[in-house]
């Protein structure tokens, strides 16, 4: 069996992640009051991506895991991007 080191994240770090996520949620709501026309969705997606990154890194512990886990997550994201791109090959060219 491999030996594993267990990383325990301090409460303070979790608290900061929580505050950041709440702040970003507040930001998401705030930008809906501003008329950004076509950019609205893009900005919302950008904020959501930052939130997802923070959740994956700290709450889901990717920062402290071996690179194998990162490879798997990147692979999943790559598949997700490809699925969206192929679907857009229909919607953008109709």
């Amino acid at each position: 069996m491999e030996t594993e080191t267990v990383h325990i994240t301090p409460y303070r770090a979790h608290a900061w992640v929580l505050i950041t996520l709440l702040a970003l949620t507040f930001l998401t709501i705030t930008v809906t009051w501003i008329d950004l026309s076509a950019l609205t969705v893009l900005v919302a997606m950008l904020i959501a991506s930052v939130k997802a990154y923070i959740v994956l890194t700290y709450f889901m512990h990717l920062k402290f895991e071996s690179s194998l886990f990162r490879v798997f997550v990147i692979m999943v994201l790559a598949i997700y991007v490809l699925v969206i791109l192929f679907t857009l090959s229909d919607y953008l060219f109709r």
Partner: protein
Amino acid sequence: MTEAKTHHPEPSYLVDTGKYKGLMAWLTSTDHKRIGLMYMYAMMIFFSVGGLLGILMRIELFYPGQQIYGPQVYNGLFTIHGIIMIFTVVIPGLAAVFGNFSMPIMIGAKDVAFPRLNLFSFYLYVLGAAIALSSQFMGNGPPDTGWTFYAPYSIQTHTNVVAAVFGAFVLGFSSILTGLNFIVTMHRMRAPGMTFFKMPLFPWSLYATAWIQVLATPIVGITLLMVIAERWLRIGFFDPSLGGDPVLYQHLFWIYSHPAVYIMILPAMGVITEIIPTFAQKRIFGYKAIAISSLAIALVGYFVWAHHMYTSGMSTTARWVFSLLTFLVAVPSAIKVFNWVATMYKGSISMRPPFLFALGFIFLFMIGGMTGLSLGALATNVHVHDTAYVVAHFHYIVFGGVGFAFFAAIYYWYPKMYGRMYNFKMANWSFVFLFTGFNLLYFPQFIIGIMGMPRRYFDYLPQFTLGQQLSFFGAILLAIGFIIMLITLFSKKGAKAPDNPWGGRTFEWRIPSPPPLENFEVMPEMGENEEPYDYK
């Protein structure tokens, strides 16, 4: 890691050693072998019910016009036939039964990584199947949408779509958890010395399958919930009258349901890859090519979904992109077929029942695969879309492929499962009936499909009568073959099986038949120069 338990031979997993005895001991067991068998029994029941519904459809189609029931009953019949066969038989299929029974032993593990989660997956499977089947008896009658639940009809019909859809959603959860369990098991619990490229090829196929289960199934889960939300809350996802887009439903549905075809077929290919070297007594040809082609099929198979939608109103750009991708997925599939044939070349072949079924698989899978190319090609697809040709094609893959591999796998691992042999002569007869019946049932559907017989039609023009009647007789032969198989395997106890009746080389053939509860008395190791298929 190594434990020596050499004092007393462990009792077989079939002996109740825990707190409960009899049925309760099985229902509460977290042993992967028992869970595999429970899946098998459940699937055989569902398969029999689904098959019976298929025969009911064939009886109605024996002559043109109405015979014994009307179009609404026919719509309900093909819908529930599809739901049962797809969601409760072929999708969990080989992975749930033989993945559970054989995979942990083949990689040298005592059990799967999460045994309780494994039992939970089984109960989710039973619950999901029960909910899906209850749709037949509750609400405003059986669903009539087809197993694909296409919007906007599935939003508008008054039949009991919600129960069927929710049942499929629960079954999806079972599939995700099984996939997750298998991925972790294969990453963390392989025997010392067994690197990934020394792992047998059935586990390899399960590994590729498990990734599709984990990544694709949530998409259909959400899609099915969206159908329920749209029916109950009138949110306009898919129904144009509510502002939705029906083509979006088809995208979301097939993003899962096409990879689901590979969830079905990859473990089938894995089983065939185990059987052929064993009965040819020859090292598998192109081990790495087969292993990597499983991953390639899983990956490319994820991006071909829209070939089900060429006539749905997609953009031309999307149609040629998906047509091209569809042709690409044929490459790794063909690699496997070439490697199987090359393995048999100059092997010392023994024509035992599992090998016969494996040959049947290759023959039927090739017909299914080649006709898949004519469906993947944009120009020919639009002519045969939604005809009996498609029905024949997918039955050649799903039944001729997965079904025959399932039968091959039962005959292959049966001596290990029960510690008993079976009557080879009877088993060979079951093959003759199943193979002849299968071709007689589905091959005429290719012909009448090209002639213009639409699928899912309760009535037809007189020129299709001969084809429909041949199919009926094929269905009867097929049913007889299945009954012979059940009698061969379960009617009476055969002679005691040796530990290694076929001369196999993988770990399951090095332990007693049936295996002890924790599989190995001494945990196995794989030497540096050892290979999974080192036939001399």
